[in-house]
């Protein structure tokens, strides 16, 4: 991908690469960089994909889950007799039995509370599983579910995370004595001095709402327990990280190799949320164990909205120390993160996943983060596209605008003043992140140019003169990809991490296995679980380049199976990791295979390996092209004719490679950690107009510039940017998982939880710059989350800019018509 604005290239069919001079290195990189048509599409376009609900097993039965109607209550008794006697019902599993048959899920904090896959003793949120019915079909299971009687003793609920910190707040987990799941006070640099040196100190309170991923496909699990072998086999749309497989195994109290996870080729979207399916995997595994047969559970939309997972809502107090020229000297941030009823792994990652990129693209060196992770009577949380970043960039970018406002500087200027530059790369942030590459000012220049920013401001002047509420919002962010597992241990105090016997955590790896058959054609399996990101296509492009073959010669199998695939704890498709670590694993495996081909060819041709190259399906001696052998013949020999194989060559042709990053270390005693591995950049400019009569925010224009390093398939990357941006826009303008003060859930349907449709989705103008990552084998970085992290801040900035003349400050999302209209109305009411 060349620098500068991207053009939407029409996708050529996947047949022949563009004509190129065939000369050694030149042949490489012909497929990478092209928008080839996706390999996944034919099956998905014709209704022949394989999603979990498309799978059936012999003697398959179906589950329905009875859920708590109360936010907080003690369970006094269950009466399941009528349900058990209902025709077609095989078994009823209660929360009480779950408590007996399984162990609490492990989680990486010191607070000792118990979280099971169903309510044990108490319910703590509306929608918490209380019992499971297994029956001949889902209709019957739901009929029987209604026959279960549960007696509750209501307890006072608490849903507000700040109120939950108060001394007299109702306590969810009595064993803790309060609602704090984790508290860390982190200091980097010298914050006190920064605030002493400041010309200006600003402080704001921010509220970020709960919204979610809402993939079109809900959670889906088929669990099958074999009582003879003690083996659990689970088909599900789990997306990783497979560290959650370990968490599930601990809860089931089974060795990891007896808990087999199978993920089919197709997952109907996830955007983070399907990490948190694992409690249901455990619950259904227990149901299968009790029912003695395989059990399928397809989460319905109501269940999904109320009780799957979502991102945290949070209250944050942010204070910044600034020089009169706009230089940001220090940040003090107090965060109260609401993780709902149970602090569930991988939480409290919401707070700590972005620790390395906490300062975003800015040079500020002094940071204090006082983080409270609080439990309330809401649904437990987990990853949602952007995981933790949309919250911090909302706070950060609102503050940059406040600084601009106070110092009467242009918002672009304030940001430019503080940006880390290309010369600073690789840049170590005060919190320990190591930004691998980037040119943030250049990206900023590009977005200013693309949007014709000066003209936008003129347009705004004119609109304001006409009395219109016209606003321009700017938001920047550093996009972390490939989490270093070690970041999560920031939740533990350094003394705890230093204890003897404690196993430090660090790293991030991915594996790829490649096989060449006897006719020279290739199959690849990955340790990834894609949910629409087009891995088959991208791996095809990479492998074709590496082996000098065409995509038609390559087949990628997307299914994942812990019993068959190479994988590790960090495997899976999350944290935008594929473009960095997945692609590198594919490259590594292909190169390993290529090495084997050359090694064998060297023996067959009696030419030293270093003199051989592979080109257009043949292995040549560089200086003597007459001396050659087709790759097909090498492969044929490896498979068919072992007599010719040297002793050090194994039969067949396959290679497995695992790629990992060098700078993946555990947090240091000062709590610094490189929480991700590659760091992209994005900047948005949103242009909006607010209708004062309805409070509706209309997006007029949107400009988005990205640096995701090398782009392997431009169409796929831009598809991710479109989707990510709309995800963030949805959260900023439309979507909210709302509760009343009693913890009753208010948005249990798509009538209430409002997602944008094609009419509400803006068109984006996308630009790219390319700063290849020095850490990945193709220079690529993740891009799938990017704009989802900055879009809410961009919207907030634009609406604040539009409403600025009315004296309105925007510190809370979502900016739905109700909130915006009320703000405008109140500003006019003395």
């Amino acid at each position: 991908m060349k620098d500068g604005t991207a053009t939407m290239v029409m996708t050529p069919p996947a047949t022949k690469p563009k004509k190129k001079e065939v000369s050694g290195q030149e042949l490489r990189k012909t497929w990478v960089g092209q928008s080839i048509k996706r390999r996944e599409d034919p099956r998905l376009l014709t209704g022949r994909g394989t999603f979990v609900d498309d799978i059936t097993l012999p003697n398959l039965h179906h589950a329905a889950i009875l859920r708590s109607p109360r936010a907080h209550a003690r369970i006094l008794s269950y009466d399941t007799r009528e349900a058990e006697n209902h025709p077609g019902v095989i078994a009823v599993l209660t929360g009480e039995e779950v408590g007996q048959m399984s162990k609490p899920f492990p989680v990486g904090v010191t607070a000792a509370f118990k979280y099971y896959s169903a309510a044990v003793g108490k319910v703590r949120y509306v929608g918490e599983p209380v019992a499971v019915v297994v029956a001949s079909d889902r209709y019957v299971a739901e009929d029987a579910m209604e026959l279960i009687q549960v007696e509750y003793e209501p307890l006072p609920p608490i849903v507000n995370c700040e109120a939950a910190l108060e001394a007299d707040a109702p306590v969810l987990h009595e064993e803790l004595g309060n609602n704090i799941g984790c508290h860390r006070l982190l200091n980097y640099g010298d914050v006190d001095q920064a605030f002493e040196e400041a010309d200006l100190i600003l402080k704001e309170r921010f509220v970020f709402p709960r919204y979610s991923s809402l993939p079109l496909e809900t959670y889906a699990v088929i669990a099958d327990f074999d009582a003879i072998t003690g083996m659990f086999t689970v088909h599900s749309n789990f997306m990783g990280p497979f560290s959650m497989h370990a968490v599930a195994a601990r809860a089931l109290d089974v060795e990891e190799n007896k808990l087999r996870f199978i993920v089919p080729s197709d997952i109907g979207g996830s955007f983070g949320i399907k990490t948190s399916i694992y409690p249901y995997i455990v619950l259904l595994s227990l149901a299968s164990r009790k029912a003695g047969r395989p059990v399928k559970w397809i989460e319905d939309r109501q269940e999904h909205l109320m009780a799957s997972s979502c991102q945290t809502d949070r209250v944050a107090y942010r204070e910044v120390a600034v020089k009169n020229d706009g230089t940001l000297l220090g940040i003090k941030s107090k965060v109260i993160e609401n993780v709902g009823a149970y602090l569930r792994a991988p939480e409290p990652a919401c707070t700590f996943r972005p620790i390395g990129n906490f300062v975003g693209p800015y040079k500020v060196r002094n940071v204090q983060l006082d983080a409270y992770v609080v439990m309330t009577n809401k649904c437990p949380t987990g990853p949602n596209r952007g995981y933790g970043c949309q919250q911090i960039y909302f706070e950060q970018e609102r503050m940059m605008d406040r600084i601009a406002e106070e110092l009467e500087l242009d918002p672009i200027e304030v940001r430019m003043k503080n940006l880390i530059t290309a010369e600073d790369m690789p840049y170590t942030t005060p919190t320990g992140g190591i930004y691998d590459s980037g040119d943030y000012p250049k990206a900023m220049d590009l977005v200013v140019e693309m949007s014709q920013y000066t003209k936008l401001r003129e347009r705004q002047k004119k609109a304001r003169a006409e009395g219109r509420l016209f606003g321009i919002g700017i938001a920047t962010g550093v996009d972390p990809s490939v989490s270093n597992m070690g970041y999560i241990t920031i939740a533990l105090p350094p003394e705890f991490r230093a204890r003897a016997g404690y196993l430090p955590k660090s790293g991030s790896a991915e594996s790829a296995t490649i096989q060449m058959n006897q006719r020279g054609k290739v199959s690849v399996t990955m340790g990834t679980t894609p949910q629409g990101q087009g891995h088959e296509t991208v791996v095809t492009q990479i492998v074709a380049d590496e082996l000098g073959i065409t995509p038609d010669d390559v087949v990628i199998v997307d299914e994942f199976d812990t019993a068959k695939h190479g994988w590790s704890i960090s495997s899976g498709t999350y944290a935008s990791r594929f473009a960095s670590v997945g692609t590198s694993a594919a490259v590594l495996a292909a190169r390993k295979l290529k090495g084997k081909i050359i090694h064998l060819a060297a023996a067959l041709l009696s030419v030293p390996e270093e003199d051989l190259i592979i080109q257009e399906g043949k292995v040549f001696a560089k200086d003597n092209p007459e001396k050659n052998i087709t790759v097909k013949r090498v492969a044929g020999t490896a498979h068919w004719n072992h007599e010719l194989l040297p002793d050090d060559v194994e039969a067949g042709l396959q290679a497995r490679a695992v790629f990992r990053f060098p700078a993946n270390v555990a947090p240091d005693p000062q709590d610094r950690v490189n929480s991700s591995n590659t760091y992209g950049f994005m900047v948005e400019i949103a242009v909006v107009e607010v209708d004062p009569d309805s409070g509706k925010v209309n997006i007029l224009d949107w400009f988005s510039v990205h640096d995701a390093g090398t782009i392997i398939n431009p169409k796929i990357v831009e598809g991710q940017i479109y989707g990510g941006a709309l995800h963030g826009i949805g959260g900023a303008l439309f979507e909210e998982l709302a509760y009343d003060d009693d913890g009753q859930f208010l948005t249990g349907s798509f009538m209430h939880y409002v997602c944008p449709t094609a009419v509400e989705a803006p068109k984006l103008t996308i630009g790219h710059i390319c700063s290849p990552s020095p850490l990945t084998l193709l220079g690529s970085k993740g891009a799938g989350e990017s704009s989802s992290e900055t879009a809410p801040a961009a919207i907030a900035g634009a609406v604040a800019d539009a409403l600025g003349p009315l004296g309105i400050r925007i510190n809370e999302l979502p900016l739905n018509p109700k909130r915006v209209w009320t703000l405008i109305h109140e500003s006019k009411t003395p």
Binding site: D41, L45, P215, R301, Q531, K715, G719, G723, A725, L726
Partner: protein, 161 residues
């Protein structure tokens, strides 16, 4: 007398099926489970997301908002019936060429809605495409690829006529 099960005869993608169904069985479940036509996807079961859209007697309907028994005697086209003789429908081609899908879960519903849209309005503007598809939700694409695909298919189909 009401019957616990009813006989239905439903033609799906040109093939006629005779089955016994409980009156409450949703058409979406009937297609997926009873006929094993798994291409019709269920996304919300309350008529908002559009994933389960099929054509009944030539018109789009939400198959989650109908009982199978109501389709007795009807002709239904599901996603499995869109490609003919191994050849993709121009809309399917266009979705493939224009990155009109990512996870593919909403895609069958979008394709069938787009079929009806282009039948009613063979030359839609971008705005008309967006409005015409507003009964289908997608969470992957930001809709851009979908809108481009439908516009591309429209011009291709027009040229072929």
């Amino acid at each position: 007398m009401p019957q616990a099960y009813r006989s239905v005869e439903i033609t799906v993608n040109g093939l006629t099926y005779n089955r016994q169904v409980e009156p409450r069985r949703l058409l979406s479940d009937f297609l997926r489970e009873d006929l094993d036509l798994r291409g019709t996807h269920v996304g919300c079961e309350h008529g908002i997301c559009g994933a389960c859209t099929v054509l009944m007697n030539g018109y789009t309907v939400r198959s989650c908002l109908m009982f199978a028994v109501q389709a007795n005697g009807a002709e239904i086209t599901t996603i499995e019936g869109l490609a003919k003789n191994g050849k993709l429908h121009p809309l399917q081609e266009a979705f493939w060429e224009n990155h009109g899908l990512q996870c593919g879960f909403c895609t069958p519903g979008f394709l069938l809605s787009a079929c009806e849209l282009l039948e009613r309005n063979p030359d839609p503007t971008e705005e008309e495409v967006r409005v015409g598809l507003s009964g289908n939700m997608c969470r992957c694409t930001g809709y851009q690829g979908i809108v481009e695909s439908v516009l591309a298919a429209a011009s291709k189909m027009k040229a072929q006529k």
